[in-house]
Amino acid sequence: MSSSKREKDSKHTFEQSLKRLEQIVEELEQGEVPLDDALKMYEEGIELSKACVEKLTQAELRLKKLSKDMEGSFHLIEEDEEPKTEE
């Protein structure tokens, strides 16, 4: 899907990180993992968990508006202000 095109450069998406975490658990639980591999998985697991938790706890919703110019190309306009609530 389209998400794979973006934000791929350095960081994994949340989905990829979570899937990898689950995969590691599965591999470890299938038994007989060489010690070296287990330690590598441990380190990777730390990194992935950290990334996931950060994403879940620190990220802020970004709001943008899609606009189309006269040539028909699209632009995203940042909506930096918290929009006022009508309550």
Binding site: S2, R6, E15, V33, M41, A59, K64, K65, L66, P83
Partner: protein, 407 residues
């Protein structure tokens, strides 16, 4: 009746008839009609409907006995809660105007609504049957929603409460997303078209994982845009999964049937589109717990094995061997030392006898026994024949030298 009669009698009484121009007559008619019918409400069926490119709407209203031309000027179009269609029964309010050049009169409509919910309901059922027959609602056409969307497109009114409700829930549940809003009108005659265009544009834009299309609650007329065919077709055509979120739980629209998932309300759509981050945190923690548990098991299992190995006969056997080797090396070393020292003493003995031989050969030892060495010009003189009288010679004794002359 009375007016007409009095008019007639006036005419009879007045011998001189005033001749009117067409323009004058038309002006009088216009005056009479426009003042007499400055505000009327009529019921009729729409026919020959034309939405002109200028933005005005032209059509006729008719019933079984008569027809009247109708116009809705562009400025009034946004206030319509639905898109008029041929055959629709409506109640329209407006005034009668006369178009002098053509000698036409028409009703200039300022507001119009479909007759009763029944009529809209009928249109709804008709379209629903038609689209169902075409397969627009088929389950196999429905696209799965992404589990963790990163970009969420929203097609709704920028000022509506629905947008704020959705943003509020997204912020609470899973704020690690980018929300891209495509603002549209969600009611009125143009709303359907705008919503359809927004869906198409999002597909051209491409960079979203899922789309929510909807608005907050309202009357059936208010929600009508989501029952329009153009919206249904746009949803069906979309390559991006769509969640419909129109009105309240009890409101069902055509958009709901075509979309990949129907959310009962906009808030519910926001709940459905992302997973709850606190539940996800638990999943992450749980996974991490399993990883550390398992790795610790791997490590402690290895430790245990090493411990057992250290205790085992097979592991200790090499040490035994090593000890044996050590012993052997010690022995070898000892015997080697013995060999070497023997060899040394042998060498020592040999050198002693050599020394004795050397000592025996030492010329000084001979001199000690009373011999001398005679040298002439530094060379040893071996025979008396090599000397003549008055040769200078050097005689070496064991304890010194002296010079003399042969006599």
């Amino acid at each position: 009746m009375n007016d007409q009669l009095s008019l007639l009698s006036d005419n009879v009484e007045k011998p001189e008839r005033k001749v009117l121009t067409v323009t004058e007559l038309t002006k009088r008619i216009k005056q009479t009609l426009e003042t007499g019918f400055s505000s009327v409400t009529i019921e009729g069926e729409i026919s020959n409907f034309k939405f002109h490119s200028s933005g005005h709407m032209y059509f006729a209203l008719k019933d079984s006995g008569a027809t009247i031309s109708a116009v809705i000027w562009r400025s009034r179009v946004p206030f319509l809660s639905f898109t008029p269609e041929d055959g629709m029964k409506v109640v329209a309010t407006g005034r009668i105007t006369v178009y002098e050049i053509r000698g036409n009169y028409q009703i200039d409509i300022t507001s119009m609504r479909p007759v009763g919910a029944g009529e809209l309901q009928l249109a709804f059922e008709k379209l629903k049957r038609k689209l169902a027959a075409e397969g627009l609602f088929d389950e196999e056409h429905k696209k799965p929603l992404p589990e963790f969307p990163e970009q969420i497109g929203i097609v709704t009114s920028e000022t509506g409460a629905a947008l704020q409700d959705m943003l509020h829930i997204l912020r609470r549940r899973f704020p690690a997303v980018e929300v891209i809003l495509y603002p549209v009108r969600v009611q009125g005659a143009r709303a359907g078209e705008e919503i359809a265009r927004a869906i198409n544009d999002f597909n051209k834009f491409g960079k979203i994982d899922v789309m929510i299309v909807g608005r907050g609650g309202g009357s059936l007329e208010d929600l009508w845009a989501f029952n329009e065919e153009v919206v249904a077709r746009a949803i069906y055509k979309s390559k991006i999964p769509i969640i419909s979120a129109v009105g309240h739980e009890i409101d069902f629209t055509i958009a709901d049937f075509v979309s990949d998932l129907r959310a009962p309300t906009p808030s519910a759509a926001a709940e459905l589109v992302v997973r709850d981050r606190f539940a996800l945190l638990d999943i992450v923690r749980n996974n991490w717990y399993h990883i550390s548990e398992n790795v610790q098991n791997v490590v402690s299992y290895r430790k245990e094995r090493i411990r057992n190995l250290l205790k085992s006969y097979s592991f200790n056997r090499p040490i035994d061997l090593l000890r044996q080797y050590n012993q052997r090396v010690d022995e070898l070393e000892r015997s080697m030392t013995a060999v070497v020292s023997h060899r040394f003493s042998m060498l020592n003995g040999q050198s002693e006898s050599l020394r004795h031989q050397l000592i025996a050969l030492d010329p000084h030892m001979v001199l000690r026994r009373g011999y001398t060495i005679v040298r002439k010009d530094g060379r040893v003189v071996g025979s008396c024949t090599s000397l003549k009288s008055s040769d200078e010679i050097e005689i070496t004794f064991h304890d010194g030298k002296l010079s003399s002359k042969v006599s």
